[in-house]
């Protein structure tokens, strides 16, 4: 039953080829994954938490998987310059589902740091230790990813190493046929290490249908600090199901900010397991919807240790017939006294056909807590609009300025100044309906009509 079967079939027919192209650590998890999805259905609308986004439907088209590791011309990556002005990064690419790192891109990287394919020989020790240990395979889509994934990225920051510039990973879809990519990231930030990672999702052409199934596993050692910025500027024919699982040891500090600027049908899930005391967690996100776009964010911060703070901020501006969904939960277990956990979801509907569905949740099993959540859905502030018009600013301009302003505090959470400026610019351009063509880039990622 369900679309998962076509992929099980695909696996059964090609498992030898898949195994041949992947490292032993990746192969070691496949049989278990297969047993977990056997007879299961991908999450669909009848399932609690998936009321507005059906993963089943996302996977229903019989997508091709690049089993034969057909090489996509590297010049795509070469000509693709996802540069952030005033910010120098160590850049690498995932073209569809293949890892690629340009020559010299790892110059001056501190020794011991690994940014490489999950299949590369230098990755194997770490991959064997952490791969598949943080993600929860209870979601059949995660198990399916584990079953079919052939490449991915390991980011390893050894104990005490603090990277002085951010890492950047560009996900690109480029293919002559409709395609599904199983993307996998394993991020290990050891004790007292610090790193920042910027992920940009792009779709090179607007012709083909793409599906990205992305599973990110983040392990944070004691007092580690890690920022993840995940910006999606794909196309209206791109579907994305991304799940991030993080485990935080004591004293660690995690920031995740997911920005959906252009998408087709996107679902992002964040599951943060706070297992050590004195952790900080910040989850932020924004979605700007127009046309028929659909953006769904779901968060689950699971407090299992004392004296931790978490904060969530998600904002949506929805125009045309676009739809948004947010489901956030804070869980404070009996083992997590002195937790402070906050969650805020603010939404603006800019057109009559736009729709928003919100479900913020608190589940508290401890009385030594300070927890709150708030959700609002409304429109632009009429008095601010009139104030601006009375100063000569046209209604259209005033609306756009207010929408940008609405997103300002999500951008404020970014802990890199250069990126903040860049994001302000991208958001502004997005609202003004321009293609969010990046500076110096020869590729038109998508059409935005």
């Amino acid at each position: 039953m369900g679309s998962i079967n076509q992929y099980i079939e695909l696996y059964n027919e090609n498992h030898q080829a898949i195994a041949r192209h992947s490292s032993a650590a990746l192969n070691a998890r496949r049989e278990k994954a297969l047993s977990l999805i056997d007879g299961k259905q991908l999450p669909h609308r009848g399932v609690e938490g998936f009321e507005k986004t059906s993963i089943e439907e996302m996977f229903a088209p019989d997508f091709g998987v690049n089993v034969n590791r057909m090489n996509i011309p590297v010049n795509v990556a070469a000509s693709f310059k996802c540069d952030v002005p005033n910010m120098s990064t160590w850049m690498s690419y995932i073209v569809n589902d293949m890892f690629h790192v340009p020559a010299n891109a790892r110059n001056n990287m501190p020794s011991g740091v690994i940014v490489d394919s999950l299949n590369s020989p230098q990755s194997q020790n770490i991959v064997a230790q952490y791969y598949g240990t943080i993600a929860n395979n209870a979601d059949p889509a995660v198990a399916l990813n584990t079953l079919l994934v052939q490449d991915g990225v390991l980011v390893y920051i050894p104990r005490g190493v603090k990277l002085e510039k951010p890492l950047q990973l560009v996900n690109i879809f480029s293919s002559p046929i409709d395609l599904m990519a199983m993307r996998r990231l394993l991020i290990v930030v050891e004790e007292n290490a610090e790193a920042q990672l910027l992920i940009c999702d792009h779709t090179q052409d607007s012709e083909h249908n793409y599906l990205s199934s992305q599973v990110i596993e983040v392990y944070m050692g004691k007092n580690a600090r890690f920022d993840l910025y995940d910006i999606e500027e794909s196309s209206k024919k791109t579907a994305r199901y991304s799940r991030l699982f993080a485990r935080q040891e004591s004293g660690s500090n995690l920031l995740v900010n997911g920005m959906t600027l252009v998408c087709g049908n996107t679902r992002n899930s964040y599951d943060i397991d706070v297992v050590g005391d004195n952790c900080e967690t910040m989850l932020a996100g924004m979605a700007i919807g127009s046309g028929n776009q659909h953006a769904d964010n779901s968060s689950n911060v699971n407090h299992r240790a004392a004296h931790c703070r978490s904060s969530q901020l998600f904002k949506y501006v929805l125009d045309d017939q676009s739809t948004g969904a947010f489901e956030g939960s804070i869980l404070v277990s009996p083992d997590a006294p002195y937790t402070e956990a906050y969650q805020s979801n603010r939404n603006m509907l800019a057109s009559q056909q736009a729709r928003m569905h919100t479900k913020p949740q608190l589940e508290i099993y401890n009385d030594e807590v300070k927890c709150s959540h708030g959700a609002t859905t409304g429109q632009l502030d009429a008095s601010a609009l009139f104030y601006m018009r009375s100063r000569g600013i046209s209604e259209k301009e005033a609306r756009l300025m207010l929408m940008q302003a609405f997103m300002a505090d999500v951008i404020e959470t970014v802990r890199m100044e250069g990126l903040r400026d860049r994001l302000r610019h991208l958001v502004e351009k997005r609202f003004y309906g321009q293609q969010t063509l990046c500076a110096d880039c020869g590729i038109s990622c998508h059409d935005n009509k």
Partner: protein
């Protein structure tokens, strides 16, 4: 048309949600004049300023307003601004996330666009801001903050006059600009208004009290009551109101 007439209001009726608040306002304002509009609470003073500025919350049901040859009521709020009408808000609106600089740059350049002028360069714009800021002694720090957000009462009112200085209107309406100001702030704000006064522009001062009129000298004083101007006089009328209150006028009108 008389050359120096700026604003001519004829039999203006307006209200909100079907409830009439202005019940036939007549008012003529010429270049170089300062008019004070006074009146008890709820008489319609703030409604009048909102209606002139085009606040969509209010509906005009009857009457005409000519603004130097243009039908004011036909213009959008932004075009009224471009044509030179400025309203200093009684409660300036806080706009989180929109910086003062972006806000003012948009305002200035939209006006220039309206008159087919090119946008100001960044350096010219900043020069203009610096120059105008001096008029109301506005702190440089406020310019980098969000519009009115976290400003004190005095800072908000100063910010209004600063915007007035930048936009150089021909008709300014100061809606209870004195409310919430201490005496020092009042002096600075009034000083700013006086510096901006020329032979060509005009000012409407809406106020409850005589206090502000010690600093901004009116040529005419109007008393608004129950949606109508019930009395017009010179500066001495304001003094008389200060001394005797509004009750005697209310009685005169109510007994008619």
């Amino acid at each position: 048309m008389n050359d120096n007439i700026l604003l001519e209001v004829k039999n203006l009726h307006a209200g909100i949600d079907g409830k009439e608040i202005l019940k036939g306002i007549n008012l003529t304002i010429r270049q170089g004049e300062v008019h004070a509009i006074m009146g008890p609470n709820g008489s319609g003073k703030s409604t009048l300023s909102s209606v002139l500025a085009g606040n969509p919350t209010f509906t005009v049901t009857e009457g005409e307003v000519d603004f130097h040859g243009k039908n004011l009521l036909d213009l959008s709020p932004e075009d009224r601004s471009h044509e030179g009408l400025f309203l200093s808000f009684q409660y300036p609106v806080e706009i989180p996330g929109v910086s003062m600089v972006n806000f003012m740059r948009a305002a200035v350049n939209e006006k220039r666009k309206y008159f087919n002028q090119p946008a100001l360069s960044a350096s010219d714009f900043l020069k203009l801001m610096r120059q105008k800021r001096a008029i109301v002694e506005l702190d440089n720090k406020l310019a980098s903050r969000s519009v009115n957000e976290g400003f004190s009462g005095g800072e908000k009112k100063r910010n209004e006059i600063f915007q007035m200085a930048v936009l150089e209107p021909c008709l300014s309406i100061l809606d209870e600009t004195d409310s919430g100001l201490d005496i020092d702030a009042l002096r600075v704000v009034a000083g700013g208004v006086n510096k901006l006064k020329t032979q060509d522009n005009a000012t409407i001062v809406i106020t409850h009290y005589q206090r502000l009129l010690d600093y901004i000298k009116p040529d005419f004083v109007h008393v608004l009551y129950k949606g109508r101007i019930v009395r017009t006089g010179g500066p001495e009328l304001a003094l008389e109101l200060e001394e005797k209150g509004y009750d005697w006028i209310k009685q005169e009108v109510d007994n008619l």
